[in-house]
């Protein structure tokens, strides 16, 4: 499994074939191959490679969208500013705080739901799969607006539900989910969990791919549920968990739509919603500081690259690729 990871790793390994001279037929085949993939190559150059390089150049310019003619070389000043701007550090901190909460939470919930759907004790599996997946189909902005209302301290059902347990959650002193810098991270997480469908389905498919004989053998050996989960399920599922972890962390580091729709660039409450991408968007496209924005974009690029690099580095210690594929 995971050509995804293998392809990325293979790109580093660079699998060179021996330098046998190509026959005319091979050369013909290669030409056709390049022809077919040429749209992507052109797109990659135009929309990835050149813009990434250009961003680096832009980050050395003093380039205001409002006054492009005054563009001048600015050396490292954008970078200095990016690293000394308290907003950069606080947005980095806000992003990491949310990542630390939401990433484990989403991975655990996606795994938990998949285990539930895969349980032999569950009836109506198809219906439940549909129900748990459905919120992922709701357009994000619509979902955000629904959650915004359901988290209303006075009239929302979340507080009413908590109130049912006897806690004092409703009324004029209701829990103010969207006004508290810690609680708002939970609000973001609730909205995020609505989009968990894909990783849940991927986990479920992975679980269904684990041979049942393994469980039967373990059961005969007297292994309990927890033991089977630790010794069989998690190792065999680790490539899929890794995939979800990588994709999830890349996405959560670039969280934008939820904080933006709820709070715009205001950062309310108390800077908690001013994530890296919100900071970048505001500087580059609201204020029009393209040079400074490019430096921030590169900073985001570096943060994401370092983090995914670290994740790939840890992979060999806990991701088991088994023997299904060489």
């Amino acid at each position: 499994m995971s050509d995804f990871t293998q392809a990325v790793l293979a790109a580093r390994r660079r699998g060179g074939r021996s330098g046998r001279p190509a026959s005319p037929m091979q050369r013909r085949e290669a030409r056709w191959g390049y022809a077919f993939i040429s749209p992507w190559i052109i797109g990659f150059v135009l929309f990835w490679a050149v813009p990434i390089a250009a961003s680096l150049v832009f980050s050395t310019l003093d380039f205001q969208l409002t006054d492009p003619d005054a563009t001048a070389f600015a050396g490292g000043s954008n970078w200095e500013r990016a690293l000394s701007d308290p907003d950069t550090w606080s947005s980095l901190a806000a992003t990491f705080r949310f990542t630390v909460l939401f990433l484990p939470l989403s991975l655990i919930v996606a795994l938990g739901l998949a285990l539930l759907l895969n349980s032999k004790y569950l009836k109506f599996t198809g219906l439940f799969r549909l129900l748990f997946f459905m919120p992922s189909m709701i357009p994000l902005v619509a979902g955000i607006l629904i959650w915004q209302q359901v988290l209303n301290p006075q009239t929302g059902w979340v507080n009413e539900l908590i109130g049912l347990t006897g806690a004092d959650a409703t009324g004029s002193d209701g829990i103010r989910w969207l006004d508290n810098p810690v609680l708002v991270l939970f609000a973001f997480s609730f909205i995020g969990l609505w989009g968990i469908g894909n990783s849940m389905i991927v986990n479920l498919a992975g679980l269904q791919g684990i041979p049942t004989e393994l469980y039967e053998a373990a059961q005969i050996d007297g292994a309990g549920w927890w033991r089977r989960l630790r010794a069989i399920t998690l190792p065999l599922l680790s490539p899929i968990l890794f995939y979800n972890l990588v994709i999830g962390s890349v996405l959560v580091l670039q969280y934008f739509v939820v904080p933006w729709v709820l709070f715009g660039a205001s950062g309310r409450p108390d800077g908690a919603s001013r994530f890296l991408l919100v900071h970048f968007y505001q500087e580059a496209f609201v204020f029009g500081n393209m040079g400074y924005g490019a430096a921030l974009a590169w900073l985001i690029f570096i943060v994401v690259a370092v983090l995914t690099g670290l994740l790939f580095g840890t992979a060999r210690y806990w991701v088991h690729y088994g023997t299904e594929r060489s």
Partner: protein, 355 residues
Amino acid sequence: MTAQTDHSDAALRRRRRNLLLTACTTLGALLLAAVFLMPLGYGAVTALKDKDGVSDPNGSLLPVSALTFEYEGETLDVYAVPMPGGGERELALVEPGRESSTFVDPDAPGEGTIAWEGRWRTLEPVTGLAPQWGNFAEAWETIDFLRLMGWTLMYALTTMLFTVVSSAVVAYGFARFRFPGRGILFGLLMATILLPPAVTLVPKYAVFLQMGWIGTYLPLIVPQLFANAFNVFLLRQYFMTIPKELEEAARIDGAGPIRTFVRVIIPQAFPALTAVSLFHFFYAWNDFFEPLLYLAGNRDIVPIGVGLSYFSGVYNTEPHLILAAAILALALPVAIFLVAQRVFVRGIVVTGVDK
């Protein structure tokens, strides 16, 4: 003999235990699903309330409003009136007075008015289920739903066509041809899934601005002509499962690679192409960041996600309308998903697992 009864005893016990576990698991799942989907229920119910019903913290869960009764050209409020002889009647207040008032029975207005001794202000108004279907019509009008839909569909369908065609072509190249650098190029393609798009935005925006494309759909549509990593990956995986013999037969008949691709591969790959089309449709319907950025300020042509966010910013004192609009926006995607969920789920499995 005893061994056999022991055996059947154990079997019975195991059956009972399984039954219990099944009941608990299924019930637990039901509870979990109810909590998980609760906001949807809230949204649906609240979208049907009137403005007062939404903001009343002690209000009913369901969309209710005070009952009224038309009597002799006047709209009267209905109260629950305790009768002197015991019991309670729902009566419409005709003539309020300090210590005594006159009422009329809405069920039998012909019988004339009823005098009642007591303070009418202490009476409870009677409420009844009154879903405000008009909220949807109002939201529809206010956000100009047809226009939003039109632009969203235009965007989703055009880019769907572009990305499916270009991704299929590229995927075929990666699936069936050997050429130097294929592994590295494919790795690079997959790496673009992880690259943060932000790092490309500033120069792209600057160039699109130079070209006069900002405020139009061109920056959103044109890049879709150049394939997309997720789609290429999914289609490549599928193409590799198509037996090579089919292509070889076509080749023997004298078909070149393009003809083989169009005549043999495309018809065979129909399920995968449908999945990719669906994925893209949902992606485009959801897309927020890029339309926000590239359509900059051109409010007349924004797709539904951006349109909704503008609407909620302006109408934040009218939650029932916001929720009605949100439900309008989610109706079509959810309906499509319910119809096509099989294809959809299979596609997710390919991108996440079949790797």
